[in-house]
Symmetry: C2
Subunit: 334 residues, 2 copies
Amino acid sequence: MDAMRSKRNLVAAALVCAVVFTTTVAQATDPLPSWNDGPAKKAITEFVATVTKVGGSGFVPVAERIAVFDNDGTLWAEQPMYFQLAFALDRVKALAPLHEGWKDKPLFKHILAGDVKGALAEGESAVMELMAVTHTGITTEEYAKVVNEWVTTAKHPRLNRLYTECVYQPMLELLAYLRANGFKTYIVSGGGVEFMRTWVEKAYGIPPEQVIGSSGKTAFVMRDGKPVLVKLPIPESIDDKEGKPININLHIGRRPIAAFGNSDGDLQMLQWTVAGSGPRFALIVHHTDAEREWAYDRDSPIGKLDKALDEAKARGWTIVDMKTDWRTIFPPLD
Amino acid sequence: MDAMRSKRNLVAAALVCAVVFTTTVAQATDPLPSWNDGPAKKAITEFVATVTKVGGSGFVPVAERIAVFDNDGTLWAEQPMYFQLAFALDRVKALAPLHEGWKDKPLFKHILAGDVKGALAEGESAVMELMAVTHTGITTEEYAKVVNEWVTTAKHPRLNRLYTECVYQPMLELLAYLRANGFKTYIVSGGGVEFMRTWVEKAYGIPPEQVIGSSGKTAFVMRDGKPVLVKLPIPESIDDKEGKPININLHIGRRPIAAFGNSDGDLQMLQWTVAGSGPRFALIVHHTDAEREWAYDRDSPIGKLDKALDEAKARGWTIVDMKTDWRTIFPPLD
């Protein structure tokens, strides 16, 4: 076959595929079955309809359909403590037999006695030490293995399911719905980037290269003639508040058109997203369901939602009332 | 249509598309017409055949087909000086009328007199100052505009074409060939990430989110109620040598299966790439063509290729002899 014919066939094949897919997807049933009909669901589907309407004034090319999601409290739960902190505490217990001296240090004494409040009350340098001993000093591959072991075995104390099963079913549907409409979905979280990368692909369908998070420095070291990256106890980037738009710029290099968060730590990311031209979407998950999940906002030490709630109301951003907007919270267990 | 039928149709459509595309691509003519037949071209096509052969022992799933490319000297030329340095020098000239004091400072005096060697001889702190005054103090959007103006007007002094036209035609074909075979192509360069992002999509078909480079810190600032990111004169990451695998891990979070470079600054990236399990590919572009491009390696201050050349030979990596392997160097001008 000559090159010209081959090229014509490619174009024809692409057209057939586009038509078949578009028709099929359009005929599918409700893509957001866990969302009750209401203003939040309506705002989401209207935004997607606007940016995908070819020839419409709000059309956005596929390459620019970037959506960013906070993780803790937005895609999975974050109570009674950030899950990564639960990992760190469990890790201390697992490592304690190798560290005879820990039983004399207040920080570790508290943790080993199950007194989390006491441990955190030791102050910021103690927490930094906790993160250092549980997250660094090993290679990136060793660390990934340790995290993987934890997420496949440790269970949430109240929800009694694996932490990775404490994800929000409505948000899983939203991620899939956006991707089906040409969006590239990113996580932009204060959590550790390497902590998340071990499990988010399976949990959310988000590949490692679309995860942005807090990070520490690593060192390139030769071991037995093979290079490894060793995690160092030196913080590099705190991916929270201003750090979120800064890291979005560093990692993605384009401004998202949609942003999803749940706390004041997400405010700057939402501000940055909506400041671009053309259609923009900002959504806040408001934790209002003490029975099925948790209810907290302005006074919560975890996931504090105060300034961002005021700004969301003032600017007409979409606010999800978890209690009324979500038909189900967590996915069914197998 | 019910959900079940809809799902079946989607699967059927996907199968049809996969078959039509695979057949059509396989029948296309030589995807690397600017590569002469020889060991380099053979190694490339054999590697791609291996990792894409479904059911073969070397098959690599599409999601893991990550290929990383150095930029300066690998995708575009880098002589007689890095093009980003040429941008900085031109920028000094453009800004000079606004900075009365510059004419009394040795660094700027040299630059304004066209004495590049003299300017660089002022030492590292002078070069840092040059980068600071030409790359920082403005917003990311203002900076992108300045770079865009430069790349669409400034011409290379010897090649007499836009700098973005000093890209290597064989590498453009290689990028397209890899992408047609399911690879995600990344740039991993010592150049500034924001400098590259303004033009690489058009030049190479690589989107901004697949560009990794050196970076400086930015600040999130509110201006007239709108957030902007201001580029600060504070270096953040030097994406060279060990910095390359470190940044690949930070930004991509998976190990590439193929890496392409041309200098000792790429050695650690190539080592990191081939240290993974399964089929791996490492390639060095050796500048051997003084007539059509430049000839340099071990003694060149720019793009020094010494240790990496030894290691490439010792380990059997693919070495491109530019003079014999490349039928053409630069793309035809419109």
